[in-house]
Subunit: 343 residues, 2 copies
Amino acid sequence: MKKKITLKQIARELEVSISTVSKALKNSREISKDTTEKIQAFAKLYNYKPNNIAISLKNRRTKNIGVIIPDIVHHFFTTVFRGIEQFAGTRGYNVIACVSDESFEKEVINMELLANGSIDGFIMALSAETQLKNDFHHLKEIIDQGMPMVLFDRVTDDVICDKVVLNDFEASYMAVKKLIENGRKRIALVTTESYLNVSDKRAQGYYMALKDHKLELDESLILRLPYQYEEEKKSEAFFAANRMDAVLCVNEIFAVRSMKIAQKNGIRIPEDVAFIGFTDGILSKLATPALTSVAQHGEQMGAIAARMLIEKIERDDEKELEEETFRTEVIEATLIERESTIN
Amino acid sequence: MKKKITLKQIARELEVSISTVSKALKNSREISKDTTEKIQAFAKLYNYKPNNIAISLKNRRTKNIGVIIPDIVHHFFTTVFRGIEQFAGTRGYNVIACVSDESFEKEVINMELLANGSIDGFIMALSAETQLKNDFHHLKEIIDQGMPMVLFDRVTDDVICDKVVLNDFEASYMAVKKLIENGRKRIALVTTESYLNVSDKRAQGYYMALKDHKLELDESLILRLPYQYEEEKKSEAFFAANRMDAVLCVNEIFAVRSMKIAQKNGIRIPEDVAFIGFTDGILSKLATPALTSVAQHGEQMGAIAARMLIEKIERDDEKELEEETFRTEVIEATLIERESTIN
DNA sequence: TATTAACACGAAACCGTTTTCGTAGTTAAT
DNA sequence: ATTAACTACGAAAACGGTTTCGTGTTAATA
């Protein structure tokens, strides 16, 4: 077993100083050609690679970014993560991934753990519990310490920082409008039980679209489901009790589950009831019938979040005094039409 | 903006030495009660937290583990990741996630980047390209440098280290046996085009089950598909050309895609053809009909991998000389029966 | 020949901790 | 009064690099 070699060992072996070795490996003109070649040859032979931790300590930059997401077994967050990881990779950054599991406490613990020097900045989506508690002191403190931060998807106006979001309101509005134009009149909404800014915006878009098209809002056509586990009874009762001709769901899982239950009740899709979901993951494509879905472009969102963060990190390096400015980038959703809405 | 405070600043402010501050914060008996209280109060006021990087450098331990997976938008790998992250969290470890994207080169680059001090050990599943090239020198080198490593799922006998795998052969055998016992006789196999150890083992299980039940192996009943993108034509031709009464697929995506194509061809599931897939993700549950699937227990697999790795890391701390021993843990798959096989 | 500049390298500080060891000052024991 | 033993703290090395500055040697210039 050959342990990694250090500058010090090379220096001792070659009877030069550590500084000389360091400079030679960086091709500094300060060092003679002979010495440089000798050192580089030796370093190569012993496969010398500088220790990242030592460099991080020196530079006070880790080239790591922290990503905190509520759930990893989740198509949308995963695609965002991929976008972040890919973009970060091109810029030489690694990604430390933490899962808050929709828990406020885990979010706080993870953030504090990482904020103590392990990373150069955060990219995160708020946990459901955090949104519910409406408590963002942990974010504020960390931002106040000068840690760059980008919030995506699950954001809040209470925290001032860079953000990347979907045009949820408009996307939802357009989806409902499309249903109405296709002649649907009794449009149900399946949304999350707990408060999430995105669900809320999608609901607002739904309300507005109904209103603009003179359709009255029927509260009994709104189904609120728990986010994480399945509650089949509630859904079954909902579809048994109500007559509708279309359903908008705030994510694809709700949509596909709902379709299954509706179909079990003898409802034909899309003839009797049309379905639209959000997310457009693999589930949408492979459901029966294939689900019309609002693409959230997670990968793009992740890449943009990573770009914003890295720009801020590297700008901090340059100028210290410049006035801070924060941006919010809005990604345009796209409606992908499939069998669940085509008449 | 209040930047993080350091020991040195506290020391200067309180006119004591850095060592005294460090000891006081650790409640060392060396420091008087008065001094300790004064320092702790000051530290608390300024929210002092030790710098992780400095500690990592000192201890030569980062409390980070590197996870390299071929793909993150992938149900199985995601569940494994969750298992790793959860277990690691309970032990105070963070997870640095890298995606090899099934590429040999990316795998090498990511590993080398992380191996230079950023992490204490690796957990990884080999990329498809790596398995194809059969080139594992990067793994060997890193292991040889004393870096603990656990391979999971996509493993190889050529690398000697800890491993966690599914009993793929047996799981596949049992699945096929179940089909045969249900009276199926012409059983197709849908597997990956490129070589993967897991696909291969599943195919071996399939062969063996056929053989043991005196069913002859019909090569035309084997469909090989590309792993990452969809090739609908090939599948369509396959289901149009062949008559079968059951299909075993090496993952749930192949299974659900196949079911859709079969259904389009007027095949009834499970009456005409039964389907079994591997993975048992959300797709299996929500497909129509719901797919009978081999549960791979990814989360458990991840937790076990993390436990093995952390044990090795922390054992390395203790004893240096002890003989290295490597284990392979085998997870037992479970067949989850759903509509796609029930007659 | 004296002065200056270029060259090639080393010493040391620094990043932020931890930890060993040394030592004043006090107290207790001889 | 002398020695021994604490107590409470500081200096310094170490982790593994980078970087600034100083310096001895040689070569070029006046």
